[in-house]
Symmetry: C2
Subunit: 360 residues, 2 copies
DNA sequence: AAGCGCTGTCGAAGCGCTTCACCGATTCTC
DNA sequence: GAGAATCGGTGAAGCGCTTCGACAGCGCTT
C-alpha cells in the first residue's frame, strides 16, 4: 500500500503538504498542487481510512439501522437504504448497515467505538429504546420516522396525518361516505410504530369534517387474513364503498377478493392505497395512491446528517408533504340504488366484464 | 471517550496487558483478567475502531456491493443483505453498504483505503468489470453469483442449472409436454447475469432428456408485458400446459391473466415459480416453487469470507442445491381432449368456480 | 546449583494520517 | 520604508491501538 509519506517523497514535498492538498484546508500553490496530484495519480495512492479516522476523529461513515423484521414493508426499506447509500457517497460518506438484531446495544457500540460519525435510524417506535442511548451518546443522529418525544433529535418522515386526510378528502369528494381502512398488521400497532397510528388519526380527523364514517381494521397481509377482514367489514358496514389500504401485502389480495365477490373497482368500490409507486402501478388495477417517498426520505435524512456534521443547524422535524396520484382504482361513489341485501349492487358487475385492466 | 490507557491505569496494569485481555492473543492470569474486565465495565470502555484498524491493519468490516438497479429482485437482495449483516455480526464484523452506482471504482477505493477487510459482490455478471480489479487488489472477496471465469474467486450461488432441471422434471412427471418459460426481463439477459442463462440451460438440457418442448420468453414484469408475452406463447404453442416463471414481477400478472382467460391453475395449466418463498406462498394461488435461498446465500458468503480471512482455504464454488416445494399451482397435465381451436379446453373452467384459493 | 523452558507482564515502537506552531518570503498599508 | 498581514511551506507531536522483544519469576530437570 502506498502511503502519504511516499507520495510526499515522490513529489518532493513534506507529508503535511500532501495532506493539505488532499483536504484543501490550506491554500497550496498551483505548481506544487499539480506535482502532488500527479504523484498521487502515478502511485495510485489512497488514504488509509483507519489512520485518517484516528487522526481526525472523523470516520466519514454513517451508520444506518434497518429493522430486523425483514418481512415488513421490505421494498420501502430497501429503497430508503439505497437512497441513503448513494446520497451519502455524493457527500463523501460511506454507509454501515446495522440490523435491528443487536438492538439498542448497537447504538452503544457504534457510538463508543467512533466507528460512525452519525446514525440514521429507521423503523422508529413511539417510545424507542434506542433514543435515550442516542441522546446520551451525543452522536449526531437522524430518525426516519417520528417518535413521541423528538427533543434533541432530527426526524424525517412522510406527513402521515396529512396522508390520511388526503385519502379521505379524495374519497369524500367522490361522494363516498362509508370508508373502510385496511391497516398494517396488528403487530405494527402493538409496537406503536408511529406512522400507522398517525395515518389513522389523520383519517379520522378529516372524516369528521367531511361527514364520512370510518371503520379501521388492522390486517395481516395475504389472502386468508384479507378474506376474513373483508367479510367482517361488509358484515358490519354493508354500505362501504371506499377503501384506504396501508399495507403492501394486502393490496393485491384485496383487489382479487373484491373482484371475486363481484365488486368492480372502481365502479362499485373505490380503493386508495398508501404505498410505494411501484406497488401502485404494478397492481392488477392501477391504484390511486399516495406514494411513500422512500428515496426522498433516504436522501433528506442524509442531507440532514451532513448538515448537522457540518455544524449547520437544521429543523427538528421535517415532514414531507404527501401527494395523491389519481389512477384507475377510484371513481364516484355508486348511486345508492337497489342492492341484493348484502350491500352489494345488483346485477352488472361481473368479473372480466369491466375491463379496468390495461390488458383489457 | 475512555481510552485503553485509562482502563490500564484504572486496573493498575500496562496498556499492552489490557490489549491482550481484549484480544486473547497472550495468556493472562485469571486475577488480572478479572481486574481488567471489571475496569472495562466500570468505565464503559469501547475500543476505538480507527486506532484498532490502523494498528492491526484489520478493520473488521466487510463491504457488500448491492446492485444499483433497485427495481429488480428487490426482496431477494434485501434478504441477502440482512442475512449478510446479521451473520457478519456473529463473527465480529460490520457491513459496509456499497451501491452499484460507483461501479468498479468502488472496488479500488475500498481496497485502496483498507476500509474493509473483504468484499462480497452481488449481482455478478458473466464478465463483470469489477473482477479484474478485485483480483489485482488481492483483497479477499466472495461473489454471490457465478461469473464466467472463477479462478481465484470464491463464489456462492443457487445451482440454477439444477433448479431449471428440477422444474422441468416436476412438470414432465405430471405429464406436461409443452412448457413455456417466462424469464427475467430482457435486460437481465443482455447484461449476461449468469443465473438467468444457467436456468434456461438447465431447463433445456432436462427437457431434451424428458421429451418436453421448451419455449423461452424473457418478460418484463407487469400486466402489459405479461399479456403480450402470454398471447404470443399461446399463439405459437397452443398446446402449452406448463409454465416455469423466473421473474417475481411476472408471477401475479401471469396468474391473473390465466384466470381471466378462463384457464384454471392447476387444472388446465400448471405453474412452477423460481422465487422467494414469500412470493410463492403469498400469491393468489399458492405456488409450487423452487425457493431462492437468499438467507442461506448471505450466510454462506459471510462464512466463506470469514474462513478466508482466517487463512483456512475454502471451496472455489459453492452451489446450493435447489429444493422444489409442491403447492397448489401444479397438477397432472389435462388429458388432450377437445379444444375450442385456440388450444383451450372447452367449457368448465370459469373464473371463481374452481376455488383453488385458500379463501374459497 | 546451574541451566532450562514457561508464563505473565511490561515498555516502546510504530501503524498512516491530521494539525498546530513556526518560519521565510511576499505583498499590503499608512 | 517600517511594520503588519498573508501565503506557502515544513517539522513534529500526537490520535489510540497492536505487537514485538525483553525480562522477571517460577518450577523443572540434570
Amino acid at each position: 500500500m502506498v502511503t502519504l509519506a511516499e507520495v510526499a517523497q515522490h513529489a518532493g514535498v513534506s507529508a503535511s503538504t500532501v495532506s493539505y492538498v488532499l483536504s484543501g484546508k490550506r491554500s497550496i500553490s498551483a505548481s506544487t498542487r499539480k506535482r502532488v496530484e500527479h504523484s498521487i495519480q502515478q502511485l495510485g495512492y489512497h488514504p488509509n481510512a483507519g489512520a485518517r479516522a484516528l487522526a481526525s476523529s472523523r470516520s466519514n461513515i454513517i451508520a444506518l439501522m434497518v429493522p430486523l423484521r425483514t418481512d415488513m414493508y421490505v421494498p420501502v426499506m430497501m429503497e430508503i437504504a439505497i437512497a441513503v447509500a448513494t446520497t451519502a457517497r455524493t457527500h463523501g460518506y460511506d454507509v454501515l448497515l446495522l440490523t435491528g438484531e443487536e438492538g439498542p446495544a448497537a447504538v452503544r457500540r457504534i457510538a463508543g467505538s467512533s466507528l460512525a460519525d452519525a446514525m440514521i435510524l429507521m423503523d422508529v417506535e413511539l417510545h424507542d429504546e434506542r433514543l435515550p442511548l442516542l441522546r446520551e451518546s451525543g452522536r449526531t443522529a437522524v430518525l426516519i420516522g417520528l417518535p413521541a418525544d423528538t427533543t434533541g433529535l432530527t426526524c424525517v418522515d412522510l406527513d402521515f396525518e396529512a396522508t390520511g386526510a388526503l385519502c379521505v378528502e379524495h374519497l369524500a369528494e367522490l361522494g363516498h361516505r362509508e370508508i373502510a381502512v385496511i391497516g398494517e398488521a396488528p403487530a405494527v400497532y402493538e409496537r406503536h410504530t408511529g406512522f400507522a397510528e398517525r395515518t389513522v388519526d389523520g383519517i379520522r380527523a378529516k372524516a369528521r369534517r367531511s361527514g364520512a364514517r370510518i371503520l379501521h381494521r388492522p390486517c395481516e397481509g395475504g389472502y386468508a387474513a384479507m378474506g376474513t377482514t373483508l367479510s367482517r367489514i361488509f358484515d358490519e358496514r354493508p354500505g362501504t364503498t371506499g377503501f384506504i389500504v396501508q399495507n403492501e401485502a394486502a393490496v393485491e389480495p384485496l383487489l382479487n377478493l373484491l373482484r371475486q365477490q363481484g365488486r368492480a373497482v372502481p365502479e362499485d368500490v373505490s380503493v386508495v392505497a398508501i404505498c410505494p409507486e411501484q406497488v401502485a402501478t404494478g397492481a392488477s388495477v392501477r391504484l390511486t395512491s399516495v406514494a411513500i417517498p422512500a428515496q426522498e426520505m433516504g436522501r433528506r435524512s442524509v442531507e440532514q446528517v451532513v448538515a448537522k456534521l457540518a455544524g449547520r443547524d437544521t429543523e427538528e422535524v421535517e415532514l414531507l408533504a404527501p401527494e395523491l396520484t389519481v389512477r384507475e382504482s377510484t371513481g364516484p361513489a355508486p348511486a345508492a340504488g337497489p342492492t341484493d341485501g348484502r350491500g352489494r349492487p345488483t346485477g352488472s358487475a361481473t368479473y372480466g366484464g369491466t375491463g379496468r385492466h390495461p390488458m383489457g
